[in-house]
């Protein structure tokens, strides 16, 4: 049984949610739900998207939604999935996890691994805003190299976060699941296509969507999409799919932008342009971006993906 088409509300994340103006993550959720339609069960981990959408008695969700804790969304989703099976309701809809990067790559890691390994028919989507934004911009395992956050601040002896971003899609892919992909809120067509693919896979699928946070990263609220695109155009966020273990569809960038174009627009990297030694750090970031382009291109069976805006 399917909910009747005409009964489906267009915006499944209702207006009146309390996300900051220009929120990349809220836009990501809008786009995810537009792509999935109303027949989904959302398990949401603690984080920005949970807090801005669910202050009792006001819920922004127009799909069945559950929030339990920070690190257990994948397990809660597993529970929903098996319950639907057990109750003979598995045709009712797809189970989707929506979680931030902290809830995914750090504290939620164990539950995700369990969910993937057990093969639940769940689509896990991580909106990646690269730090603990709900609590005010503390560093997560997904924070990029040299980003200044409140717990990885720059200072006389620090250029900010001293570790590179954790490669979560590779870790997920190592579980041997059928579909892993990265996308970005800056590329709605790509995002929509990948969400639809991910939910159509039978078994676990994983999607990590780059979702800039103007408040935490420090840029004008109007530039969320622009910054998201720059991340891709500079090679600091790679867009690809891993289908049945094989890297495919690495998004081609016709004109690679220097990383400065991305970094200079954000307060979290502003120190690199002021501090002695900052230039060398920027060079390291550029090397990382170049390395990204080269390795993904080399590993990809067919680099046929095109930028679809």
């Amino acid at each position: 049984m399917q909910a009747k088409e005409e009964e489906r509300p267009v915006d499944l994340l209702a207006s009146g949610h309390r996300a900051c103006a220009g929120c990349g993550a809220a836009l990501t959720i809008q786009e995810i739900l537009r792509a999935t339609g109303a027949n989904v069960f959302v398990a949401n981990s603690t984080g920005c998207m949970e807090i801005i959408s669910s202050q009792y008695p006001q819920s922004a969700w127009k799909v069945p939604w559950i929030h339990s804790l920070f690190e257990n969304a994948a397990a809660v989703a597993s529970g929903i999935e098996v319950a639907l099976k057990a109750l003979g309701r598995d045709e009712e809809g797809k189970v989707v996890v929506i979680a931030g990067d902290g809830g995914t790559v750090d504290i939620g890691m164990q539950a995700i691994s369990g969910m993937l390994e057990r093969g639940h028919d769940v689509c896990y989507i991580c909106y990646d805003n690269e730090a603990y934004m709900n609590t005010g911009n503390q560093r997560s395992g997904s924070t990029p190299f040299d980003a200044s956050t409140t717990t990885s601040p720059f200072g006389k002896k620090s250029f900010g976060n001293d570790r590179p971003k954790k490669n979560m899609p590779a870790i997920v892919a190592a579980h041997g699941i059928a579909y892993v992909a990265t996308s970005s809120v800056g590329y709605p067509r790509d995002l929509t296509k990948k969400v639809q693919k991910a939910v159509s896979v039978s078994g676990p699928a994983y999607l990590q969507i780059h979702a800039p946070c103007n408040v935490g990263w420090g840029f004008d609220s109007a530039k969320t999409i622009e910054i998201a695109r720059l991340a891709v155009e500079t090679g600091l966020w790679m867009m690809y799919e891993i289908v049945d273990g094989e890297l495919v569809n690495v998004m081609k960038v016709s004109r690679q932008q220097p990383v400065e174009e991305y970094l200079k627009q954000q307060r979290r990297f502003a120190h690199l342009f002021k501090m002695p030694g900052g230039e060398a750090q920027i060079k390291l970031i550029q090397d990382y971006a170049n390395h990204n382009f080269e390795t993904y291109k080399a590993a990809s069976r067919e680099a046929t993906g095109e930028i679809q805006t």
């Binding site: 209702a14 949610h17 309390r18 103006a21 220009g22 819920s59 127009k62 103007n214 004008d220």
Partner: protein, 316 residues
């Protein structure tokens, strides 16, 4: 003891203002205390912060219910929040507004002082950050804290150039406000208490909510700028609609007569070379702002490929 309540919006620095007031009072040799209403509010949502000043050690830890002074950082809050709730009979309300005290929509019997802090901040600081300006205004209007201590506290928090321009803005506001006079409170007929604002809808067993009920929160009043659409140039690409995090752009399909008129107009524009042929076909699609929810982020304007959306300062 004097109690001050600050009403602002997330991101306007209300908490910082409360803290700076406390620091300044401490510099003046007083005991002081500053704290926010601990919440989860994001940028733009109404927030409250509190400051207490006293000659004696302050032990009180509750929120402030009967303030001596109220600072309103954003005049739009007057309609959204009961900013004068519990105000002491001889209390003063300082409102950031270019309007006169009579026109901000508060009870005529209250000593309201308005100051165009946004204007001052834009002129001196170059950004609409009004909290330091309002601190100067507070010192001028109330005399509770010296302007020197305000300046000191601002400089300590924001060293260098930024601090200096903030101090200048505070000084200007101080001068303007020091020139205002105490307005005796008039006894007006007691305002009929608004029939209890809160609803008494019964709560369920657990905190389970109904779908889409967030729509009662009108996030449109968080806005400082609003997008203005130029539909004549619009190519109907839909990017504004698709990139709105708040679902505050409505895609409307015109039908019948309305659609015919839109097509006619588009054809004229195409002839005049103003729009492309493809846009004529989609002339019946309209994009409209939903002012109830638009937070004014500006993504739509930034993403519009023909710069057909302009961000305009909201009239407050």
């Amino acid at each position: 003891m004097k109690e001050i309540r600050i009403h602002g919006r997330g991101g306007q620095g209300s908490v910082t203002a409360a803290e700076l007031l406390a620091v300044a009072a401490f510099e003046d040799g007083k005991y002081s205390q500053a704290f926010p209403f601990f919440g989860v509010e994001r940028r733009g949502a109404p927030v409250t912060a509190f400051t207490r000043l006293s000659d004696k050690k302050i032990r009180l830890r509750s929120q402030i219910y009967e303030p001596d002074y109220v600072i309103v950082q954003d005049a739009t809050l007057v309609s959204a929040v009961d900013v004068t709730a519990g105000l002491k009979p001889d209390g003063i309300v300082i409102v950031n507004s270019e309007k006169s005290a009579e026109d901000v929509g508060l009870n005529a019997g209250i000593d309201v002082r308005t100051i165009d802090a946004t204007g001052i901040a834009l002129e001196i600081i170059g950004r609409p950050i009004v909290n330091t300006t309002l601190l100067g205004a507070f010192a001028g209007a109330t005399g509770e804290i010296s302007i020197e201590s305000i300046k000191q506290s601002v400089l300590a928090r924001f060293p260098g150039k930024i601090g200096e321009v903030n101090v200048q803005a505070a000084e200007k506001a101080y001068q303007l406000m020091a020139a205002t006079e105490r307005k005796p409170h008039k006894k007006t007929r007691a305002r009929k208490k608004e029939a209890a604002r809160e609803s008494y809808e019964k709560i369920p067993t657990a905190a389970i909510g109904k779908p889409g009920t967030s729509e009662v929160t009108e996030t449109g009043d968080w806005r400082i700028f609003y997008p203005e659409f130029d539909m004549e140039q619009c190519t109907r690409c839909g990017k504004c609609f698709e990139n709105c995090p708040d679902a505050a752009i409505i895609e409307r399909t015109l039908r019948g007569k309305e659609a015919d008129e839109a097509r006619k107009r588009a054809e004229e524009l195409e002839k005049a070379g103003k729009i492309k042929k493809a846009a004529v076909k989609k002339a019946h699609i309209q994009y409209e702002l939903d002012p109830t929810y638009c937070k004014g982020c500006g993504i739509c304007a930034n993403e519009c490929p023909i710069q057909g959306i302009k961000m305009k300062l909201e009239e407050k």
